[in-house]
Every structure is written in structure tokens, then in C-alpha cells.
């Protein structure tokens, strides 16, 4: 039962990262252009699905509370300010989506809210992951780091890294979904973003080695973990070739694969800890009566329906977005 909910949680978080990742990325890239036609095309490429994407964040949140209440309580209270800023970013960005077309004069505010909100949300998510990798100060199951216990150069670095990663994922999505000059602009950006991301990875590794983080030891103990970076490297090569020959489809899937590989690496190097390296999955799990109650309804029947629904909305809105069509 515990493993079932670990799996469901992992799927939900991965779906969130992949799905909201690309539309947050598009939001970040949105801030880089001032061309109204391009901005419009970029919005149209994520407009039909962003709301559903974000719902996976709520799904992950409530699974965490129901199935692993200790983790929910410990992490959410420890990351008080980062979560506050992330939520504020997500709200401003969500509303901006809708409000920017209501006004000409005030549009710059909503546009700034859209790009800024996406950037802040992405940064905060990266920062929290970084802080987790570096280990939060936790003694006897209680967070003891105070207001800024999560703040460190390493965490900030991870925040920047995730912004780059999401931006890259977003660029690949634009290549896949858009017509006109947006894909070309995205193609030109991809190499820069990739180099930036690569540089980030190198720095992170150097940092992890220098700081002698416990995650690094995990890698030496579990050499099979190198399968994931291996997958990442192959995906990166295919990505480079697709970009070189301007093949619109593959880059997004390759980038998604890279994200999945990174997610797998982290998940398995944390294992069996849920908050590394202080609270394990078994310690965090809710009592059997809670897990079973969730399993026999929500888990067994409703979760597959949610996946089907997500699949359907992507099938309905498959193909390129025409710049002339769309809602506005």
C-alpha cells in the first residue's frame, strides 16, 4: 500500500514537472520578447492546457498530506517563504493569462505578471529541490533551520538551473506547437540555453563534490544510478541533432526524457528517504487505514480517470497552433 502511494506520488510530481515545466518555461521566454505577434503565439501554445497542468501540483500536495503527512507538515512549514512566493507567482501568472486580453493600457502589468510569476515559481521550485539535496537542518524529525534555513548558494544555483531547464523545455514545446517565426527564434535560443544548463550541471557537480554532499556518496554506493545520466546524454545528442536539422517533433520529447532522467536520478539517490536524509518513506507513511481508504477509491478508480482526462485534452489539442486561429 505504501509503495502504491509512493508510485502515484512520483507519477504526479513527474507529470507536474514535465507539464507545468514547459508552460512555466514558455512564461519565462515570454519575458524575452516584446513582439506582440510572437507573444500571442506563445500564449496560444500553452493556453488550452496550462490549467490542467497546474492541477497536478495540487494533486501532489494532497497525496503528500494524505499518504505522507509528516513530510507534508515538515516540508511545507520549512519552505514557508519559498512556497509563499511560488504561490503568489502562480496566482499572478494564472490571472495574467486571462486578464491581459481585457485591456490595452494595463497589458504591460499582466505581461510582467505572467513572465515574472513564471520565473519566480520556477526559481522557487528549483530552490526547494536544491535545499533538499543539500539536506535541510532537521533534528529528531523537526525542522530546525529557522526562517532562512533553506537558503544557500547551492539552493540558489539550483533555482537558476531549473529556470534554465524549464526555459529549454518551453523552447522545445514552442518548436513543436508553433508556426511562423516563433520556432526559429526558439531554435536559435536552444543552443544558448543548453550551454547554460550544461554549465549549471558542471558547477553543481563540482559544488556537490567540494561540499562532500551525501548524495555524492549514494552515487558511489549505487553505480547503476549512472544509467540515468546515460539516458540523459543520449537524449541530449538526439536533441542536438534534431535542432541542427530543424526537426520540430523530437526536441520536446528528448528534453522531457532528460527531465525524467534527472527526476529518476534524484528519486533513487534519495531512496528510501523522503526527506533526505532524515525521514524515510516508512516513517512518513500514514497509517494503513488512511492509505487503504484512499486506495480503494481515489487510487484504484479515479487516478486512472485523471490520466485519461489529461491524455484526452492533449489529443484534442494536438498539432500546431495556427497563429490566426485561437481564442482571441
Amino acid at each position: 500500500m505504501v509503495m502504491f502511494w509512493v508510485a502515484i506520488l512520483a507519477i504526479s510530481i513527474l507529470l507536474y514537472v514535465l507539464l507545468d515545466g514547459f508552460d512555466l518555461g514558455v512564461g519565462i521566454l515570454f519575458g524575452l520578447t516584446h513582439d506582440q505577434t510572437r507573444r500571442h503565439a506563445m500564449l496560444s501554445a500553452v493556453a488550452p492546457i496550462w490549467d490542467g497542468n497546474e492541477t497536478w501540483l495540487v494533486v501532489a500536495g494532497v497525496i503528500l498530506w494524505g499518504a505522507f503527512p509528516v513530510v507534508y507538515a515538515t516540508l511545507f512549514s520549512a519552505f514557508y517563504l519559498p512556497l509563499l512566493l511560488m504561490l503568489a507567482g502562480l496566482i499572478l501568472r494564472g490571472v495574467a493569462f486571462e486578464y491581459r486580453y481585457k485591456t490595452e493600457r494595463m497589458r504591460w502589468i499582466w505581461d510582467a505578471g505572467f513572465a515574472g510569476g513564471s520565473l519566480v515559481a520556477a526559481f522557487m521550485q528549483g530552490l526547494t529541490v536544491g535545499a533538499l539535496v543539500e539536506e535541510l537542518p532537521i533534528t529528531n524529525g523537526q525542522y530546525t533551520g529557522g526562517e532562512f534555513g533553506w537558503l544557500s548558494p547551492f539552493a540558489v544555483l539550483c533555482g537558476i538551473g531549473l529556470c534554465l531547464g524549464y526555459a529549454l523545455l518551453g523552447a522545445c514545446w514552442l518548436v513543436k506547437k508553433c508556426d511562423g517565426d516563433v520556432p526559429e527564434a526558439a531554435y536559435r535560443l536552444i543552443p544558448y540555453l543548453s550551454v547554460g544548463l550544461l554549465a549549471f550541471l558542471v558547477v553543481v557537480f563540482a559544488f556537490a563534490l567540494a561540499e562532500n554532499l551525501r548524495v555524492v556518496h549514494r552515487w558511489l554506493e549505487r553505480p547503476y544510478l549512472f544509467v540515468f545520466p546515460g539516458i540523459g546524454v543520449v537524449a541530449a545528442l538526439v536533441l542536438a541533432v534534431s535542432v541542427r536539422y530543424r526537426r520540430d517533433g523530437p526536441p520536446f520529447y528528448m528534453m522531457a526524457l532528460i527531465f525524467a532522467a534527472a527526476f529518476g536520478t534524484l528519486a533513487i539517490s534519495f531512496w528510501p528517504y523522503m526527506i533526505p536524509f532524515s525521514i524515510t518513506i516508512e516513517e512518513a507513511a500514514a497509517p494503513h487505514s488512511s492509505l487503504a481508504f484512499m486506495f480503494w477509491g481515489a487510487g484504484l478508480f479515479v487516478f486512472p480517470l485523471m490520466l485519461v482526462y489529461t491524455a484526452i485534452s492533449y489529443i484534442v489539442f494536438r498539432g500546431k497552433v495556427r497563429p490566426t486561429s485561437g481564442h482571441y
Binding site: A47, P48, I49, W50, D51, G52, E54, T55, V58, V59, G61, V62, W65, G66, A67, P69, V70, Y72, A73, T74, F76, S77, F79, Y80, L81, L83, L84, L87, A88, L90, I91, L92, V95, F97, E98, Y99, Y101, K102, Q142, T144, E147, A286, P287, S289, S290, F293, M294, G297, A298, V302, F303, Y309, I312, S313, V321, R322, S325, G326, H327, Y328
Partner: protein, 472 residues
């Protein structure tokens, strides 16, 4: 008063949850009414029903969007500010909220997309079905939230293990009698809210002598429905009182400003409770046995006074006392308006009675005020407990939260919410002012579901179409 982290966290929760409840209480009722309208349209084929439907769907979209956005915050706040509660009650509250997300959010999201943009793509019966599914989604969401809150009011079906609430009987939690009087109470409140907003809009158009056919439908359906539901609401309100008498004597004593045990009890109608000296100033009181009659359906029953409850277990008396009276006052005014209006409708005279039209128009805030004050009564009256009788609010807070951090988050939420609320209400006002357009705008081919608030654009576009030739 010291601005402690505890007080600030409570203020923040009160602010964010009060802001949030405004939108669901409106959309739950509206979704049900949209289903009725669509069914009527299919049945009678009258185009006016369709126009009213399309019009309210746009308003539904904006309110729904604001409800979704402000709801996400709630899912996080239990963990950020109330980590002790989250840890202890997670095994019970977590699964309940998981069910809400799993069953309601995806139902709403998927069928709402069809509602907004699917009309040309699906057969009429399926469109009606989708409307019903959205209504079902909002209702399910309300059910799980009430299940969750009712458990905090009257915790059942659990044992304490390692300092956590471990569920040992889910049927007790899901079939708690408390839940099954509180859920209908909230559902009725939502329906009454929807009915009054619709009737008030109809009254507005009638006063402006516009959209006569639509105004007629809105006035009739709204006021008739309210006239029927308001007495039923009184019944459920009374049943709520019974669970409070049985399970939460301190809340009842505060609501009634009853300081001493009385048998049979008197009933304070209005007063200024003087907490310091444990007495009521300027009291207007009904003699015994009215208090026992109202609280316990009995001529002789004894009622508990605050005296027999240790002061450290008292809720703040003034808030439940006054918010309860405001709620009942709103109910009374709504009942008068709804009954007088229904009578005039029956006599076919409502369009001529400007007084009643104005009264209907100005009563649109009443159901919102009643819902909010009802929740204030329930939630403040539960204090100082967060899980009644078991866990104190003060012990539920994140232990290391500082006042400075809590202050920052409170300010951020206030600023962000005011900002989006101001624009949201402005757009709703603009939609209402424009009224139901005669033209049935079909959504564009590549339309976009899942974007509640973007329905407003359609209206914007149709206005633009209208203005451009005029400008030339």
C-alpha cells in the same frame, strides 16, 4: 493586542478562506441553476432560456476561475502555518482532501471545457450532461470540504496513536450526522446565493427596462426558488443548532450570550455581551422557556451557560454572538423580499413595483454576508479548539513560525488577493452591465477549454465588433 505568529496565522487563514468561500458559494448554486436552464431550454426550446444560460455561463467562468486560484492556496496553508495540525490530523484530513482533488477537480475541469467551447461539437443531450457534471463536481467538492470541516467540529471515528489521529472507522467520519446537516446547510446557502444574484440581476434590468424576457425569467426563477428554499434553510439551521447543543456547549453558550446555566432557559435576542463582568448590556430578552424551545425543542430543558465552562475553553463571545445574529437577520430580510416578490410575481405586478425591484436589487450582498457570518459563527465559535475538544489552535501552529514571517505572508496575500479581486469583480460588473446580448456567439473553431476566465473575452470581442463600424 500583540501581533503574535499565532494571531497573524489565524488572521491569514480567516482572510484567505473567507475570500475563497465567496466564489464557491456562488458557483455551486449557479452550476445547478445552469443545469436547470439548459434542461428547460431543451424541453421548451425557448431561445430566452438559452440567452440567459449563455449570459450566466460567462459570469460563472470568472467566479469559477477566482475560486480555483484562491483554492490552491488553501491546499498549502495547512502545511505552512499549521504543521502540527497537518501532521496530527493528516491521516484523516489528507485523504478527505485527496478525494476532493481527485473526484471534484478533474470532473469540473474536464466538463467545464465542454461547457465553454464544446457546444458545436457535442449533441445537446451530452451538453446537458456536461452541465450536470460540472454541477456535480462543485457539489462533490463542497461535500469533501464539509466532511473535513465537520470532522474538525466533532471529531469521530479515530484513535490517538503516537500523537496522531488515526482513522479506525471511516463510515463514522463519512456518515457523521453532523456532516449530514451541515452539508445540506451549505448547499442550500449556495443555492440561495445563486438565486438571489440571479433575481437581483433580473431586478436591475427590470428597473432599467431592458432585456424584458430575460429579466422576467431571472426574477421569477430566482425569487420563487429563494421563497421555497429559505424556509428549508431555517430547518437545517435549526438542526445545526441541535448538533451544537449536543457536541459544542461552549459555542452554543457564546452564540446565545448565556452566562449562567438556566433551566428552562431564556433567549437573548439582542444585547451587548459584557465579557468582563459576564453579563449582557442593553439586552432584549425573551423569557423562559424560549431559549430551551429554540435550542432543544423543549419547554423544560436546561441550557449550559459559560459559567460552567472553564474560561480557558471559551471562544471569543462577541464574534459568534453577533455574526450569528447578522446571519439570521440577512435570512429574515431575504425571506421578506422573496415572499413579497413571489406574491407580486404571482399577481403579475412585480415589474410595476419599483420598491420591490430595488429591494431585490440591493439584497444581492445578503446571501454572501449570511454565508460568511455563518462560517464565522461556526469557526470562531469552535475556538480555542481547532479539533474541538482535542487539539487547541495554539498547539496546531507551526512551532517555529515567527511573527515576522507570518506578517510577510499575510501582507503578500492581502495585496495579491485585493489586486485580483478588484479586477475580477470589475469584469463581472462589466458583464452584468452589458446584459445578455441577443446574438448567440458561437465559440471560434480552435477554442480553448480549461480557461474559465477567458469567456469574458467573447463578450469583449462582440463589443468590439459592434464598435468598430460605429467608429468609422
Amino acid at each position: 493586542m500583540d501581533l503574535t505568529a499565532l494571531l497573524l496565522s489565524r488572521l491569514q487563514f480567516a482572510f484567505t478562506v473567507s475570500f475563497h468561500i465567496i466564489f464557491p458559494s456562488f458557483t455551486i448554486g449557479l452550476a445547478a441553476w445552469l443545469t436547470v436552464l439548459e434542461a428547460l431550454h431543451l424541453w421548451t426550446g425557448r431561445p430566452a432560456y438559452r440567452r440567459v444560460f449563455e449570459f450566466w455561463l460567462k459570469i460563472f467562468g470568472v467566479a469559477f476561475g477566482l475560486g480555483v486560484v484562491s483554492g490552491i492556496v488553501m491546499a498549502f496553508q495547512f502545511g505552512t502555518n499549521w504543521s502540527e495540525l497537518a501532521r496530527m490530523s493528516g491521516p484523516i484530513q489528507g485523504p478527505l482532501l485527496s478525494y476532493e482533488t481527485f473526484t471534484a477537480f478533474f470532473l469540473e475541469a474536464s466538463f467545464f471545457g465542454i461547457l465553454l467551447f464544446g457546444r458545436p461539437r457535442v449533441p445537446p443531450w451530452f451538453y446537458l450532461f456536461s452541465t450536470g457534471m460540472v454541477a456535480l463536481g462543485t457539489t462533490l467538492s463542497a461535500f469533501w470540504i464539509l466532511a473535513n470541516n465537520s470532522w474538525m467540529q466533532v471529531p469521530v471515528g479515530y484513535v490517538m496513536e503516537n500523537g496522531a489521529f488515526v482513522p479506525d472507522d471511516w463510515s463514522k467520519i463519512l456518515f457523521s450526522p453532523v456532516l449530514w446537516v451541515r452539508f445540506p446547510h451549505m448547499l442550500l446557502a449556495s443555492y440561495i446565493t445563486g438565486a438571489f444574484c440571479v433575481a437581483a440581476t433580473g431586478a436591475w434590468y427590470a428597473l432599467r427596462r431592458e432585456f424584458a424576457a430575460e429579466a422576467r425569467i431571472m426574477l421569477r426563477m430566482g425569487l420563487y426558488l429563494a421563497a421555497v428554499l429559505l424556509p428549508v434553510q431555517l430547518l437545517f439551521g435549526h438542526l445545526n443548532g441541535e448538533y451544537i447543543v449536543h457536541h459544542q456547549p461552549s459555542k452554543m453558550a457564546a452564540i446565545e450570550a448565556r452566562w449562567h446555566d438556566e433551566k428552562p432557559a431564556s433567549e437573548v435576542l439582542l444585547a451587548w455581551p459584557d465579557v468582563e463582568n459576564r453579563r449582557n448590556l442593553f439586552a432584549i430578552t425573551l423569557p423562559p422557556p424560549f431559549g430551551s424551545l429554540i435550542d432543544s425543542d423543549s419547554l423544560t430543558a436546561g441550557e449550559v451557560g459559560l459559567d460552567s465552562i472553564p474560561p480557558e475553553n471559551w471562544p471569543p463571545v462577541l464574534i459568534p454572538f453577533f455574526s450569528f445574529r447578522i446571519m439570521v437577520g440577512c435570512w429574515l430580510v431575504m425571506l421578506l423580499v422573496a415572499w413579497a416578490g413571489s406574491y407580486l410575481i404571482h399577481k403579475e405586478r412585480i415589474e410595476q413595483s419599483r420598491l420591490l425591484l430595488w429591494a431585490t436589487f440591493f439584497s444581492f450582498p445578503l446571501p454572501f454576508i449570511a454565508t460568511l457570518t455563518g462560517w464565522f459563527t461556526a469557526e470562531v465559535g469552535r475556538q480555542p479548539w481547532v479539533v474541538y475538544g482535542v487539539l487547541r489552535t495554539a498547539d496546531a501552529m507551526t512551532p517555529f513560525l515567527t511573527a515576522r514571517t507570518a506578517m510577510i505572508s499575510l501582507i503578500v496575500y492581502c495585496v495579491v488577493y485585493s489586486f485580483i479581486f478588484a479586477f475580477g469583480t470589475y469584469y463581472i460588473y462589466r458583464l452584468l452591465r452589458a446584459g445578455p446580448a441577443g446574438r448567440l456567439a458561437l465559440p471560434p473553431a480552435a477554442a480553448i477549454p480549461n480557461r474559465p476566465m477567458s469567456v469574458v473575452d467573447e463578450h469583449r470581442l462582440s463589443q468590439a465588433d459592434h464598435h468598430v463600424p460605429a467608429g468609422e
